[in-house]
């Protein structure tokens, strides 16, 4: 056995980044001459069929643990046990909140090396080398591990989901004695959506607003432009967290993934967690007053300027053009 991944699930489905990690582990394991396994944690909703299905992404074995899902520390306990009982060389995680938390906890528990934000993993001489971009992606470092296991935490969507593996995975139930402190966190509510449902997935045009709008009322500018373009309004996590706009409109890692014909981003910096939710848009237009904002690195048309000046005039001009 050589690579262990953690697969997060919710309401009967595995998380996309987790499936990416399982697929990547399957591919890498065969390159370094080992096997890939996955570990899952949860209650009765973790059925045999669901666990076995990870086989088609490349996991030969799935360790199933009964425990609370949605928290990191119980998973650290479970992974530490499975790794020490079976001797895995690497632990690989897809991007996302729990990957960071679990990978970090495991690092401490096993005194192991960790690399996060990994964008690619290479197999070299029977070992794995992680590629990690640093300093706002201005350089990429190749990281090797001292001792075992090496812990690799992927960047969001870094690992592609590859279906069509060798069929069902073998399911092994594991009893884990959870640490005293793992029992001191309890999920009271999981996956709450909050506020009204807004359907942004079907819109062909999205006008997205970020913290650059300055305040909740600033969304009026986006709403007016969206209306003139015949589109809908989307938002970044920063403004959703701040309570300026409903969660249902959030684009990104912890929000929705969209691919409209036009994505117009106003006052959005273009953080990676936002980018993953909208980078497949056909045309990306960004308005930002900071010429160094990361969003300009992946927009098709970038406007360096103040959105308060540009948006109202743009709305008028679109109305005039469409009316003509």
């Amino acid at each position: 056995m050589s690579i262990l991944t953690y697969a997060l699930h919710f309401e009967g489905e595995f998380n996309k980044n987790s499936l990416g990690a399982v697929s990547e582990a399957g591919k890498l394991a065969s390159e370094i001459g080992g096997e890939a396994a996955a570990i899952v944690i949860g209650g009765d909703d973790l059925t045999d069929d669901l666990c076995k299905s990870l086989g088609s992404y490349g996991a030969s074995k799935v360790y199933r643990v009964r425990g609370e899902e949605g928290l990191a520390q119980p998973v650290v306990d479970a992974m530490a046990k499975v790794i020490s009982d079976n001797g895995f060389k690497y632990a690989l995680f897809g991007g996302g909140l729990l990957g960071f938390e679990i990978g970090a906890g495991l690092t401490a528990r096993l005194n192991a090396g960790v690399t996060m934000e990994v964008t690619a993993v290479k197999a070299q001489d029977g070992k794995l080398v992680a590629e990690r971009p640093i300093l706002q992606d201005s350089a990429i470092v190749d990281v090797d591990y001292v001792g075992e296991p090496g812990i690799i935490i992927g960047r969001l969507n870094a690992f592609e989901i590859a279906e069509g593996g060798s069929g069902d995975a073998e399911v092994v139930d594991v009893e884990v004695e959870f640490s005293d402190f793992s029992n001191k966190c309890r999920v009271v509510k999981r996956g709450e959506q909050g506020e009204s449902e807004i359907n942004i997935e079907d819109a062909e045009i999205l006008v997205a607003g970020g913290r650059g709008l300055g305040k909740a009322e600033g969304f009026g500018l986006c709403e007016e432009l969206a209306q003139s373009l015949g589109g809908a309004v989307a938002a970044t996590r920063a403004v959703v967290d701040a309570g300026w706009y409903p969660y249902a409109a959030q684009i990104g890692q912890t929000g929705k993934t969209v691919a409209p014909k036009l994505y117009l981003a106003a006052g959005i910096s273009g953080a990676i967690q936002h980018k993953v939710g909208m980078q497949s848009s056909e045309n990306i237009v960004a308005i930002n007053k900071d010429p160094n904002a990361p969003i300009f690195e992946f927009s098709d048309l970038g406007i360096v300027g103040d959105l308060n000046k540009i948006l109202p005039k743009l709305t008028e001009a679109v109305k005039a053009k469409k009316g003509a």
Binding site: F10, E11, N17, L71, A72, Q73, L97, L98, F100, E101, A104, G105, T107, A108, R109, A112, G113, M116, I134, L135, A139, I140, V141, D142, D144, Y145, V146, G147, S179, D180, F181, K184, C185, R186, V188, K189, R190, G191, E192, V240, D241, A242, Y247, T254, K261, L262, N283, P291, F296, L301, G302, V304, G305, I310, K313, L314, A317, V318, K321, K322
Partner: protein, 264 residues
């Protein structure tokens, strides 16, 4: 209740960052500042203290770093911390996440806090990981990326955004909590607080003082090794318009959209 806040000195956001090709470490020369996310952690501590629901005996700012990191502690104290602790030792240089988390945990152990707060990420590197590393060493429950926190006697109720929406989690104290920047709006320090910061108690601790084992920190204690530093792949940049005359800018945007048939 005693609260320890972990803080870090980071290169100023305006300074261009680079790697030192010789040491393969971040070049830490140039202007520095208190990591912005940490100011939210200090503010969270202040709000618990001022909230009146629990009795906070003191707020202690803790950092690890070279001599210059003292400035981050002064800033932390000017924002409300009662005193500060500076772990500084030549043996710590070159510590990776694993070694840094261990060293910080050892300092915290010597302080026995009821609550450890930190910012969820630093401007210069570690990504959302230190809180979980520290918590595992301290054998405390932990939660990262918290955006709302209600403190009662002996426990916290935290809210955070996870992969499927918001989670509400109850955590028993003592605990390690890392906070996001939406949790609060940090206050500005008063001139008096800035002036007074240098007079507040600042304890220097060496690795030996807090029982850090040799070989577990610094380059020796690090479990990763950088093999190479490469430039990123070239990418194609889009078109850029500097807004000088807004009417003209808007005309250009409309023409661009029209060309792509987005104004149908």
């Amino acid at each position: 209740m005693k609260i320890c806040v972990l803080v870090k000195e980071v290169p100023d956001a305006a300074v261009e960052k680079r790697m030192d090709p010789g040491s393969k470490r971040l070049d830490r020369s140039g202007e520095k500042n208190l990591n912005p996310f940490d100011t939210h952690a200090i503010e969270a501590a202040m709000q618990i203290k001022e909230g009146g629901k629990v009795d906070v005996s003191e707020i202690v700012a803790v950092t690890m770093g070279p001599d210059s990191a003292e400035r981050a502690l002064h800033k932390a104290v000017s924002l409300g911390a009662d005193r500060s602790v500076h772990l500084t030792d030549d043996s710590l240089a070159g510590s990776d996440v694993c070694a840094t988390g261990y060293a910080l945990a050892k300092v915290l152990e010597s302080e026995s806090p009821d609550l450890v707060l930190l910012g969820q990420q630093s401007d210069d590197g570690e990504c959302y990981t230190i809180g979980a590393v520290v918590a595992d060493h301290l054998k405390m429950p932990s939660l990262t990326q918290v955006i709302e926190m209600d403190t009662q006697e002996g426990k916290l109720t935290c809210r955070r955004q996870a992969e499927y929406g918001y989670d509400t989690v109850e955590v028993d104290l003592p605990a390690v909590i890392s906070v996001g920047d939406a949790i609060n709006e940090p206050r500005y320090p008063s001139l008096k607080a800035i002036m007074g910061a240098k007079k507040k108690q600042l304890d220097k601790r060496s690795a030996g003082d807090v029982g850090i084992e040799d070989g577990k920190v610094g380059e020796q204690g690090s479990r990763t090794a950088v093999l190479a530093i490469n430039p990123p792949p070239e990418k194609q940049a889009g078109e850029i318009i500097e807004d000088e005359d807004t009417n003209e800018t808007v005309e250009k945007i409309v023409a661009w959209l029209d060309e792509r048939k987005l104004l149908a």
